[in-house]
Amino acid sequence: MLTCKDFLSELSDYLDETIDAELRAKLERHITECPNCWVIADTTRKTIQIYKGMEPYPIPPDVESRLMQALEKKMAAKHK
């Protein structure tokens, strides 16, 4: 029998779907019988999903213009 600790240690691979079918079946059996692990798996999956959808903020204009200036200088030096 799989313990909760065993389940947790496989959680990342379970959510990333990088485990073989046999282990997957064992983990799935565990969460049907263990509400705690079901909640952990579900909320961890949601955590990952929320972060995945996060677009980077636009770069502040002053940062952007300093970057472009620095690069232009560098490119001009390289291709004289």
Binding site: K5, P56, M68
Partner: protein, 206 residues
Amino acid sequence: MAVSSLAGIDESALVVQSREGDTTAFGELVRRYEGKIFRLGQHVTQNREDAEDVLQETFMKAYEHLDQFKGDSKFYTWIVRIAVNQALMKLRRRKTDRSVSLDETIDTGEDMVVREIAAWGEDPEQQLSREELGGILDTAIDSLEPLYRSVFVLRDIDELSTEETAEALGLSVPAVKSRLLRARLQLREKLTRFFKRKGDDAFAYM
């Protein structure tokens, strides 16, 4: 650099053009990834000035060493390595009092603790404005240890593979995996405070 109309152009073509001296093509590569590199720099260094330096240094170095990019990985994976190195250097320099080490510490598994278990509501993030949600997510990440933070940002936000993340951070694949799991569990815990279904009380576990 001129405003480019290269938005639809394939990345490897842009790299070839950049290598041949086409500054507009390199400008397009910068535009594609500057936001991600800046975010990565901010999360790793937790300092805006350092993040700006990381951003500049990353693209300067990338331009300088473009010949060394062999095209056997994605361009982003290649510049991420440069960015991570720059960011970690700054982090070490700032935290002279507390050493920030990338060495693989002995993993006791004791930090893999789950304290709060509560189901979340449906689409909890929809209840918040973009700014509110962004604030919560950033604060949660920034409360993680530097290495957990770096692993999580590369793996789950930038969506690099485990192998690419290991390469970028100079860690082994098992080390990336164990840190990713801990980072995910810690973030889950922090977000649960905001997203748990009303009326559900947390209870102790394990």
